[in-house]
């Protein structure tokens, strides 16, 4: 057998040599590697000592193996395995077997028998464990083969009695991953291994080694994940494991209990030491709550996380989690929350605390106090006070999930959430604000709670403030004082952090429209109108005044009596704001005025929006007028482009669409213009200037097409093909221009070939779309293709030129939604006159804060560019963690850019801007090829011929004043 294999291996070797001969004959250089298996065999035979052999194996493992030769390699390895006396070498071989069977495309059933055989005589526990691991890999590679799995499980069961924990560990893992899931199948097989896998695993819950116990629980969970219904009997076993000495065991046990509670929520379990019985989910909830005060924080995090998903728990238990009876010297004491509530309900608000205000009141019956509750008591109180912030975050998340499903619980947990707004870790604060926003539909804030919430508005972190604004957008406030308080605090916020302007206005917009009746009584005070006296007209540019107006106008929308309270200038301001801040100020029905809002009558449904109609009409017009005289076409295009651009500015929701089409028309216009040039009729070299214009046009079209393809989200393949088509035309144009301007044909050969290749690949990529492109450039080109391939470059150019002129203009169908990626750099503002001084040669960190909209996968594409006055440009890739995602389609980039330069004599400005990187390979149509993990082949994936990487600037550049000082000696 072995001899035969060796022969085969050598055969492979010789074949390679032959190939090299063939290669030589065709005068192409191709590098081929000798087969790996052969090399390995030679190496292993050479190895004199185990250490040597190990070295060879290690080297071998670093290189990939082709699918075809895997089996041969495995045979060689196995042969050596039997011969090898050293355990470490055998271990390495075993692990290599596992790696090899992972090779994509290789079916490992042929080596399974050998792998199982090796188990028989193995003495070393480590090697055994590794072999079982290999079997596990083999088993997972063969999911469709139940008999193989049965066999493997049997093997694993046999080794369960091994004295080494590692082996037992692996056995359990194997059973968990491969054990039969459907009862029926197991019965059919009816072999000895068809014994209940659950029972086998369950027996190891009491293993002496904690690692094995953990593995047993994990295997059980694995079975559950694979769809086996676990038996309820395991529950009591799992409960005992909660008191285990080892944290991994407890952590896994908590998971198991959670799984069981989801499987059998309604079963009844007895409470030990009493006759009562409760639902299993309640019991499990109580037990997991208990684990929130476990000694190990890993377990605490685990427990707190799982609590959130136990929504079937009865409300009685749920509310206990927030319960904590206070006492002082054995007398009942009220919590601060209770006191605050009482103060509020008694009408007295925010009184200064007196000494002894919190003095304990009634005596407590000493017998009734239960210091360690077995139930859910106070689990969240503990969780939220935990010393590890991971636990606190998990607890907040759990609170959020539970509160979303239970309004009464939401009401109760409010106090605790509000308390979390003062956590020392920002992440926790942010999380609790988000949580509060998520449950806000269930709650109404009391005034004292609102007070605490609003206090956070002064936080110096922008994230926190913005999250809070979002929260305020959707909170319910109960009183008009509450609204007033909120407004006052928001205005305070505005004066302290003027950059928050937009966010605050937006927040007030929602606050107003949600609480019109509460705003109504405040209007005179807010507008400072007086029944008898005229008050001075406020400054229209004051952001604070605009904020107040936004609140009032939005409230007035659903409160028709409000406008009666406005003074004259308020109406004027309304008209102004309606125009300038139309997204914040709603249309109002104002008495004694023409309805400003009349155009938007309710009868018109949104998709018949006139502006959208306009857009379509103008496009229609362009597409229909194919045969106008060139001058006419140019003018029409110019006008349409102008119209579209203006439309985009006016109608923000159509901006993406309008810009997209405008860009497309622009390309077309450029193309037409370029083709109209006189230079085509004259000998080219004379018209250098003209030709510059044409080539510039080609260049610009190329750029624009990249923008169209990568800067818009929502572009479908229908658009992509048209964009590519436009690009093709631009390339043709480029080719023609070069042909005209360069003398000699030598360079043209290459260019022509390249172009034809591109046409070819275009055809391959978009074959399905070709029928839609009747009469287009590419359509005609493909007809002429046979001629083109054989003709000389000069002819090709000629043909191209005529086709380009004759080809029709393709319709650009519009997708439903189209958004242009935009970026806005908030910081640095670029207004500072104080240069950022730093010592040359050292670095200075510049904080960059930007909002990104409609950018897909910003982590991969958005870059920061820094341009120095000397023309030097620096490209920075922000860390993935620097991107936050505050809402759908929106991203926030907060990062630091490190600047450095040699010394300057005086301060100068650098430019910072954001770029969108693209790679035309990564076109949206083609799926990415997944990288194989181990078998990463050395030869890189062949780059497709049009693979062009580039960047598109998509934000306004911001200037930063810097000054690198020379270092002092």
């Amino acid at each position: 057998m072995a001899a035969h294999l060796k022969k085969r291996v050598y055969e492979e070797f010789t074949k390679v040599v032959q190939q090299q001969h063939e290669d030589l004959s065709t005068k192409k250089l191709r590098l081929t590697k000798p087969s790996k298996s052969a090399a390995l065999h030679v190496d292993l035979c050479k190895a004199t000592s185990p250490a040597d052999a190990l070295q060879y194996l290690l080297q071998f493992a670093r290189k990939p193996v082709e699918v075809e030769s895997v089996e041969g390699v495995v045979r060689i390895l196995l042969e050596h395995y039997y011969k090898e006396n050293d355990a470490s070498v055998r271990l390495k071989i075993a692990s290599l077997l596992g790696l090899l069977s992972k090779t994509a495309g290789f079916s490992p059933d042929c080596i399974m028998d050998d792998a199982i055989n090796t188990l028989q005589n193995e003495k070393s526990h480590q090697v055994l464990a590794q072999l079982l691991d290999t079997l596990l890999v083999i088993g997972t590679k063969l999911p469709e083969n139940p008999s193989v799995r049965m066999r493997l499980v049997e093997v694993a069961c046999k080794h369960l009695t091994d004295s080494s924990h590692g082996v037992r560990n692996k056995c359990l893992q194997l059973i968990g991953c491969l054990g039969p899931v459907e009862k029926g199948v197991a019965k059919e097989a009816e072999s000895q291994a068809a014994k209940d896998v659950q029972k086998i695993i369950g027996d190891h819950f009491n293993d002496q080694d904690p690692r094995v116990r953990t593995a047993a629980i994990k295997a059980m969970l694995q079975l559950h994940e694979r769809g086996l219904k676990l038996q309820q009997a395991i529950y009591s076993q799992a409960c005992k494991l909660l008191a285990d000495d080892y944290e991994q065991v407890r952590s896994a046990a908590v998971q198991l209990i959670w799984v069981l509670s989801q499987l059998y929520p309604e079963s009844i379990v007895p409470i030990p030491s009493s006759n009562e019985e409760i639902r299993l989910v309640d019991d499990a909830f109580g037990k997991i709550c208990h684990m929130v005060s476990d000694g190990s924080w890993v377990v605490r995090v685990q427990a707190a996380k799982l609590l959130g998903s136990m929504q079937q728990v009865s409300s009685h238990f749920l509310e206990q989690t927030l319960d904590k009876k206070l006492m002082s010297d054995l007398r009942r004491k009220r919590t601060a929350h209770e006191r605050a509530k009482e103060l509020y309900s008694s009408g007295e608000f925010s009184s200064g605390r007196k000494w002894g205000d919190d003095a304990p009141k009634e005596e407590i019956d000493t017998g009734a106090v239960n210091l360690i509750e077995s139930g859910a008591c106070g689990a969240f109180v503990h969780g939220l006070e935990d010393e590890m912030y991971e636990v606190r975050i998990a607890a907040v998340e759990a609170l959020c999930m539970l509160a979303q499903s239970s309004p009464s619980f939401a009401e109760k947990c409010l106090d605790f959430l509000v308390d979390m707004f003062n956590d020392e870790i920002e992440e926790v604060r942010l999380q609790s604000i988000h949580t509060m926003r998520k449950i806000s539909h269930n709650i109404t804030l009391r005034e004292d709670q609102l007070d605490t919430v609003l206090a956070v508005l002064e936080d110096s972190s922008r994230d926190i403030r913005e999250a809070l604004h979002e929260l305020l957008c959707c909170t319910n406030v109960s009183t008009k004082e509450g609204i007033h308080l909120a407004l006052v605090e928001l205005l305070k916020n505005l004066t302290k952090y003027p950059t928050d302007r937009e966010s605050i206005w937006k927040c007030l917009k929602f606050l107003g429209s949600r609480h019109p009746t509460l705003v109504l009584p405040l209007v005179p005070e807010l507008l400072s109108t007086h029944p008898f006296f005229d008050t001075p007209e406020p400054d229209m540019d004051d952001p604070a005044y605009i904020a107040v107006l936004v609140l009032i106008f939005n409230a007035a929308k659903s409160c028709p009596t409000m406008p009666a309270l406005f003074s004259d200038h308020t109406f004027r301001h309304y008209a102004y704001l309606r125009d300038s801040l139309s997204h914040l100020v709603p249309p109002l029905r104002l008495p004694g005025r023409k309805l400003v809002s009349s155009p938007v009558s309710p009868s018109i449904t949104p998709h018949e929006d006139p502006s959208q109609q306009f857009l379509h009409q103008s496009l229609e017009r362009v597409y229909n007028l194919q045969h106008l005289d060139p001058q006419g076409i140019q003018e029409l295009l110019e006008f349409t482009i102008r119209d579209l651009q203006r439309l985009g500015e006016l109608q923000s929701e159509l901006a993406g669409m309008a810009d997209f089409t405008a860009t497309y028309l622009q390309c077309q216009l450029l193309l037409i213009k370029a083709l109209q040039e006189k230079l085509w009729n004259v000998a080219a070299p004379l018209y250098l200037k003209q030709n510059a214009l044409a080539s510039a046009a080609a260049k610009q079209i190329l750029e624009e097409t990249y923008k169209m393809e990568f800067m818009y989200s929502g572009v479908e393949s229908r658009q992509v093909v048209i964009i590519h088509h436009m690009r093709l035309q631009a390339k043709a144009l480029q080719l023609i221009v070069t042909a005209r301007t360069t003398r000699g044909v030598e360079p043209l050969f290459g260019m022509c070939e390249k172009f034809l290749q591109e046409v070819d690949s275009f055809q391959r990529c978009f074959i399905s779309e070709l029928p839609h492109m009747q009469g287009s450039f590419v359509d005609k080109l493909l007809d002429l293709m046979p001629r083109l391939v054989t003709s000389k470059p000069s002819e090709v150019v000629k043909i191209l030129q005529t086709t380009l002129r004759q080809s029709t203009f393709l319709h650009l169908p519009l997708p439903e939604q189209l958004h242009r990626a935009t970026a806005n750099i908030i910081e640095p503002t670029g207004e500072s006159d104080n240069p950022l001084r730093f010592t040359s040669g050292l670095v200075v960190a510049l904080d960059v804060d930007a909002t990104l909209e409609h950018v897909q996968d910003p982590q991969g594409t958005v870059k920061v560019q820094v341009l120095y006055p000397d023309g030097q440009a620096q490209l920075i890739h922000p860390k993935p963690a620097d991107f936050r995602n505050p809402g759908p389609g929106r991203h926030r980039l907060i990062t630091q850019v490190y600047l450095s330069h040699t010394a300057w004599t005086e301060p100068c400005q650098i430019e910072v801007r954001l770029l969108l990187a693209y790679n035309s390979n990564r076109s949206k149509a083609s799926a990415r090829i997944p990288k194989s993990s181990w078998n990463e082949s050395l030869e890189a994936l062949p780059l497709s011929e049009n693979g062009i990487e580039g960047t598109i600037p998509f934000s306004k550049p911001v200037k930063v004043y810097i000054m690198p000082k020379p270092a002092r000696r």
């Binding site: 904590k324 000494w355 006070e385 308390d419 020392e424």
Partner: protein
């Protein structure tokens, strides 16, 4: 029966003067060596004559352990080591070792320089005393001598506070010192593993209290300060130099940072600066937040908090001042208070408990007119607030610690008797462990049931484990071996090795039995019949017929002779060693039943 004896010299049903003697497996350990704040006479220090009337303390104590730097836990140390005389090792954690001498020196200054006492320990004595200190790390097992080992666990409470596990052989005691189970702004929560000590000695200051969440208190505090500062008022916070002061500083510092506030915060100088220095150093002893962020910025490098100068008190505009001492009875805090008391915009926040008779206590109980020295009447118009920031575990916390450590007995110290009573009852009820609360000088004896480890040779273990069913964690397993007790150690060895080691010859014990069989035939025929019979019955054993006319079944020998008197009766001699007792007795009973009547 082995026992652990505990005698509190202080802190038994009392707060202050912590000093507990523990004798465990012949080792004597003293836990803490504190002073009592309530007394100025001999009672302020523990009565060390209890340990020995004459003779050096060193001979009677194996080591002294100090849990943390508060004076009621370490105040008597120089007196004990230098004036009474103790030269053995003193153990404390690194931060305690660093900060303890500062406090002792301060204490000495107040007693000697201010009160003019004589016969008190000197600065030199403090230095000498500190030289005897051995510093330990968290979770480091320190071998005091060959048998006694101690290990420190994190206790929260103050910087460097630790709980100590004292272990001799299998018996162990855990002493908690003061601890805090809820984290605060600068320290984490106490933690202990499931060490299952025989005895847990726990403090019980808040035995009958369950506290509200810390957040409410912090929020209230911050809100009060913030509001006053926004109004343009001044805030006075009287504090003791160490512990709570740092917590409040961190709290205010982060709040200022978060809220972008500009009003100045001052800290009256003194020992604080020195102490702050140590807080900066021992970052590993602080809480998660400080530990994680210190790379960017050490939280104790205050940005907003500056040193106070007396002249600042008259500056206009808002400010916050931390000033010592904490009860407003003297010093800088009182001076500032007198300056600011008249303005209703100002505020004073008392962060802790005030002793009766101090100005602090008076204003807290609502007195608005104070008589100062010189018949001066001070009208208090400023707001007076009370905030409790205390770092002891409450009843729930104590229970939680007991749950974590799973002790077999609990002993309560450092608390009031009445409160302890309640907690004791709860502990016994909920954990079913016995709980003790000795008064000062009262000895509690706890009997332990230590398990004794025995070494077994691997060969023997493997051999024995191979016999019979697979080892099962749930069932005890019987083993054969010889227990050797030699040189204070126990070993389980195989009999052969035991004989070899002890130099004894092996004796063989054989049982012999005669069985009479009625059989008229010749001897060898009888033997053959017996042989055939046995071979038929004992299929699993090797039955052999030897040429000398005897039969062996495994190691059992059977010989047949004719009866001397009656030829018809054959005597079967059955002989077996005691190892084969089972088989031997079975064979005898089998033979006694007689041979089957066969025709042949």
């Amino acid at each position: 029966m082995p026992e652990i004896k505990v005698t509190p010299l202080g802190a038994g049903q009392d707060v202050g003067r912590s000093c507990i003697l523990v004798s465990i497996a012949g080792k004597n350990v003293m836990l803490d060596c504190g002073m009592h704040m309530g007394y100025n006479d001999d009672r302020r220090f523990p009565d060390f004559s209890y340990i020995t009337q004459n003779g050096r303390l060193t001979d009677f104590l194996d080591c002294v352990i100090i849990s943390h730097f508060h004076l009621d836990h370490c105040g008597a140390l120089p007196y004990f080591s230098e004036m009474v005389g103790y030269d053995g090792p003193i153990y404390m954690t690194h931060p305690t070792k660093a900060i303890c001498p500062i406090l002792l020196e301060d204490y000495r200054k107040i007693t000697v320089d201010k009160k003019g006492e004589t016969n008190f320990f000197t600065s030199q004595m403090i230095k000498d005393c500190m030289k005897k200190v051995v510093a330990v790390h968290l979770h480091q097992t320190v071998q005091v001598d060959e048998e006694l080992e101690i290990k420190a666990y994190y206790a929260g409470h103050v910087l460097g506070a630790a709980m100590f596990q004292i272990k001799v052989g299998c018996e162990s005691v855990v002493y908690t010192g003061d601890y805090n189970m809820t984290p605060d702004r600068h320290l984490g929560a106490a933690w202990i593993d499931k060490c299952r000590p025989d005895l847990l000695i726990s403090e019980s200051t808040y035995a009958t209290t369950i506290r509200d969440s810390k957040r409410c208190r912090e929020r209230d505090f911050l809100k009060k300060v913030h509001e006053t500062v926004e109004r343009g008022g001044k805030v006075l916070i009287p504090v003791f130099a160490l512990g709570r002061a740092q917590e409040l500083c961190i709290l205010l510092e982060t709040f200022w940072e978060r809220m972008n506030l500009k009003a100045p915060i001052y800290f009256s100088t003194g020992l604080t600066e020195k102490a702050n220095h140590y807080y900066k150093l021992f970052i590993t002893w602080t809480n998660q937040k400080i530990r994680k962020t210190f790379v960017q910025r050490n939280m104790f490098e205050f940005k907003h908090i500056k040193a106070f100068d007396r002249a600042f008190a008259d500056n206009p505009g808002p400010m916050v001042v931390f000033a010592t001492p904490g009860m407003l009875h003297a010093g800088q805090s009182l001076q500032i208070f007198r300056k600011w008391a008249g303005n209703e915009k100002n505020m004073v926040i008392m962060p802790g408990y005030c002793v009766q008779g101090t100005v602090g206590h008076k204003i807290l109980s609502g007195q608005r007119k104070l008589e100062m020295e010189g018949r001066q009447i001070l009208e208090v118009k400023m707001q007076v607030e009370y905030m409790s920031f205390s770092a002891h575990a409450d009843a729930k916390g104590i229970m939680q610690l007991i749950r974590q450590a799973e002790p077999r007995n609990v002993l309560l110290v450092h608390g009031e008797a009445k409160k302890m009573e309640f907690l004791k009852q709860k502990i016994e009820q909920e954990f079913h462990v016995s709980c003790y609360m000795p008064a000062n000088g009262e000895t509690t004896t706890i009997f332990t049931n230590p398990s004794i480890p025995v070494d077994i040779s691997l060969g023997l273990l493997k051999r024995e484990a191979a016999i019979g069913p697979v080892p099962d964690a749930k069932k005890p397993k019987l083993m054969h071996g010889t227990l050797l007790m030699k040189d204070n150690s126990f070993r389980l060895v195989s009999p052969e090795q035991a004989l070899k080691e002890l130099g004894l010859a092996e004796h063989q014990l054989r049982f012999t039995c005669r069985v009479h069989i009625q059989d008229p035939r010749k001897e060898h025929e009888t033997v053959l019949r017996v042989y055939n019979h046995l071979k038929g019955v004992l299929k699993d054993y090797s039955v052999q017929h030897l040429p000398d006319g005897s039969i062996t079944v495994e190691s059992i020998l059977i010989q047949a002779t004719a009866h001397s008197e009656d030829q018809g009766t054959k005597v079967l001699l059955v002989s077996w060693t005691y190892q084969d007792e089972e088989l031997g007795s079975y064979l005898t009973s089998l033979l006694k039943k007689g041979l089957p009547q066969s025709t042949s």
